[in-house]
């Protein structure tokens, strides 16, 4: 299945934006300082920025970056958002309140608790009324979202913005799911070449597990990749950054692989 990448957004430790990150990812021995960046999510109105969670701001930050590169009208773009853990800061506050005798929870907190909070804010900020799927598949969430975005781009012939994101959980939840990162990545995918192609992809879903999944050569980036589902996108992003023909292999659950042939444009 052929796809084109029209824009990329990335935010992670030492990876603040595609322009900076592609140099790190293309390098054989990257000089890489894992400083934690701050999301801007500047497309949200100021009052919504204040109300929205950090998770929402990370997701919107990379979504906005990918869209800016692609120069496509956001109102024409469908979206797929993927997070394993969702709004864990909100979850912590809700469960703390529900464990108290009064069980008083704020209505704003409640409607920010949904797994599709980032998608909802994306719609509000852009005015887009196109389809938005929000999904979870534990450590394979990015892969599941890639399949969904690819399938959507092919059946509906509409550009699809894929946004994968997860942040470390607050205590005490962190002990139950010690996620690394945070990390967020966005890819604007089209079935046909767009005005700003960064790469051409050819996707196959395979049951052949004889080949090992692609890993990152740099130890720090590899730790990031294995610690956060959204960072499972790193081998794909690195192949795009290197601008040469590469076969990337991503593990989807324990049973299948996404084989993605990456070709420069």
């Amino acid at each position: 299945m052929e796809l084109y990448v029209n824009g990329i957004g990335i935010l992670g430790p030492g990876l603040a934006g595609w322009d900076e990150s592609r140099l790190v990812l293309a390098s054989e021995s990257p000089s890489w300082e894992p400083a934690m960046p701050e999301p801007s999510a500047s497309l949200l109105p100021a009052n919504e920025q204040r109300r929205s969670s950090e998770t929402v701001r990370w997701a919107l930050h990379v979504a906005q970056e990918a869209m800016r590169q692609a120069e496509v009208d956001a109102r024409e773009v469908a979206s797929v958002f993927a997070s394993s853990e969702g709004e864990t800061g909100v979850l912590d506050r809700l469960c703390t309140a529900l464990a108290a005798p009064q069980r008083t929870i704020s209505p704003t907190l409640f409607h920010h608790s949904v797994h599709n909070a980032a998608s909802g804010y994306w719609g509000i900020a852009t005015g887009s009324q196109q389809s938005s799927t929000v999904l979870a598949c534990y450590d394979s969430s990015f892969c599941a979202a890639f399949l969904e975005a690819a399938a959507y781009a092919h059946t509906d012939e509409r550009p699809v913005l894929l946004v994968a994101y997860d942040l470390p959980l607050p205590p005490p939840l962190y002990a139950a799911r010690p996620l690394g990162g945070g990390f967020a990545a966005a890819l604007l995918l089209t079935r046909a070449p767009g005005p700003h192609n960064l790469a051409q992809l050819d996707l196959t879903l395979s049951n052949d597990l004889s080949e090992e999944a692609t890993i990152m050569d740099d130890a720090g980036l590899e730790t990031l990749r294995t610690g956060n589902q959204a960072a499972q996108s790193l081998p794909l992003l690195a192949a795009i950054a290197r601008q040469c023909d590469t076969l990337v292999l991503l593990e989807y659950l324990e049973d299948q692989h996404l084989l993605i042939r990456v070709a420069p444009c």
């Binding site: 389809s131 979870a136 598949c137 599941a144 139950a176």
Partner: protein, 454 residues
């Protein structure tokens, strides 16, 4: 010109435009471009919502407050017996009704000969999922599909909004008073209960499937969108068949959350009633096995004919006042099924019984279908089962097709005179060939499904 972009409407587009639909109006009228691309003029209109080949529901089932399986559900609908009762969930002190499924408290996912792997999934949400799987020969149908296509070729795509959050709510009540730490049993079960993927993970493991899997979580449209994603996956060749559906179970978060939004009725909900005053929460699990029609088709079989998805792009918890997102979803479903509004015999409304939702859905339905298409809400029977509402609507739609009946609207005595669609109060016995079912969720996420017989 790149493939997938068209400058001119296709013949099909023209037909729909001629039918007076308000296609894309909201987009074209949108006032600003927050991405700052003022130079980007949408010269092209993307085609979107192409036709689809019908997908057969080879087997399907439902468990809700109405009972276990299709026959109990049908009898309750036919006899107008509501599944709603005064709230008796745990120690919840809210004056309201709920649609609780009996017996979930007394069962266990890890009972009998279940493997250690399955035992770790034990929680209310997965118990309800298991109860659903066990009805109407569904498990056997999936086993046959697994043998027919291979375990890798059968996907599991479910919807849920709160997954096993009840386990986390309980764990927070048992935090270590000194350190604040959660109980150690929770730390290991988090992945299999609280995590949003839990229900699909459990169902996939239980049924021995190895194909693509995910949980879609777009609040109350979740399990309707599971049908749409499964249809895409089958069309894209990622799988040959899919277990679709969803499960959502009662928990403190939704009961106290909807109470905080003042959207919950103190009595049983009364959809479309002039005095309606909010929703009633329920729980359900529903599943369908979707397959390509040429493998599974037989006369009279129920099929997914179309789906339409959209967003409001308006507000997190309030629908777009003119229902433009809902209109888009219904129109996309019609377009994909190559049907027109007049081809739909009955609309299963989202119909939550809040003041705003019913009014805005009515506006949207009337705008697409006019004043005569029959519509009703079944929330007075089941309550609003949130992430499982979409599959609940789809299974009730399937029963309308196979049992030649249309449910009315329970608990409602006088239809709001401000509503202009044809809302049905009493049940009807009549042949039904095509049903559209609506699901609209928080975050302004909408999905309409069209089911019919082939």
């Amino acid at each position: 010109m790149p493939q997938g972009l068209v400058d001119e409407p296709t013949e099909e587009d023209k037909l729909h435009l001629a039918a007076g639909r308000r296609q894309n109006q909201a987009v074209d009228d949108a006032p600003y471009d927050p991405m700052g691309h003022r130079h980007v003029v949408p010269r092209h209109r993307y085609v979107g919502a192409r036709g689809m080949a019908p997908l057969i529901l080879t087997s399907y089932t439902i468990v809700s407050a109405l009972g276990r399986g299709l026959d109990e559900t049908y009898r309750a609908l036919q006899n107008r017996r509501s599944g709603l009762r005064l709230c008796d969930f745990e120690d919840v002190g809210i004056t309201t009704y709920i649609g609780r499924v009996d017996g979930v408290e007394d069962m266990s996912v890890g009972g009998g000969s279940a493997s250690t792997e399955l035992k770790q999934f034990d929680c209310r949400n997965n118990r309800l999922a298991l109860l659903g799987l066990q009805q109407d020969g569904f498990i056997q149908a999936v086993i046959e599909a697994r043998e027919r296509y291979g375990a890798h070729r059968v996907a599991v795509i479910l919807g849920s909004s709160t997954s096993g959050i009840l386990e986390t709510e309980h764990a927070y009540c048992r935090r270590d008073p000194a350190t604040g730490a959660l109980p150690s049993s929770y730390l290991t079960s988090h992945r299999y209960t609280q995590n949003m993927f839990s229900s699909a993970h459990f169902v996939r493991a239980y049924l021995g499937l190895r194909g693509p899997a995910m949980v879609i979580s777009t609040a109350c449209s979740s399990s309707a969108k599971a049908f749409a994603t499964a249809a895409r996956f089958i069309e894209a060749g990622f799988c040959d068949a899919a277990v679709v559906g969803g499960v959502d179970s009662l928990c403190l978060t939704i009961l106290y959350g909807f109470a905080s939004l003042e959207l919950m009725s103190s009595g049983p909900c009364r959809p479309c009633d002039e005095n309606r005053n909010g929703l009633t929460l329920g729980e359900s699990a529903g599943f369908a096995l979707l397959e390509k029609s040429k493998q599974a088709s037989r006369p009279g079989a129920v099929a997914l004919l179309g789906y339409g998805e959209s967003c409001d792009g308006y507000h997190m918890s309030h629908p777009h006042p003119e229902g433009t997102g809902a209109i888009r979803a219904m129109e996309a479903a019609l377009r994909r099924s190559a049907l027109t509004a007049g081809d739909i015999d009955y609309i299963h409304l989202h119909g939550t019984a809040t003041r705003a939702n019913d009014r805005i859905e009515d506006t949207a339905v009337h705008s697409v279908f006019g004043p005569s298409t029959l519509c009703s809400s079944t929330k007075g029977w089941t309550g609003h089962t949130l992430g499982a509402a979409g599959v609940t609507g789809a299974i009730i739609a399937a029963m309308c097709l196979t049992r030649s009946f249309v449910p009315g609207t329970l608990n409602t005595t006088r239809i709001d005179p401000d509503l202009s669609s044809h809302v049905l109060l009493e049940n009807l016995e009549q042949p039904v060939r095509r049903v559209l079912s609506n699901s609209f969720g928080f975050g302004g996420n909408n999905c309409s499904l069209i089911l019919g017989t082939v």
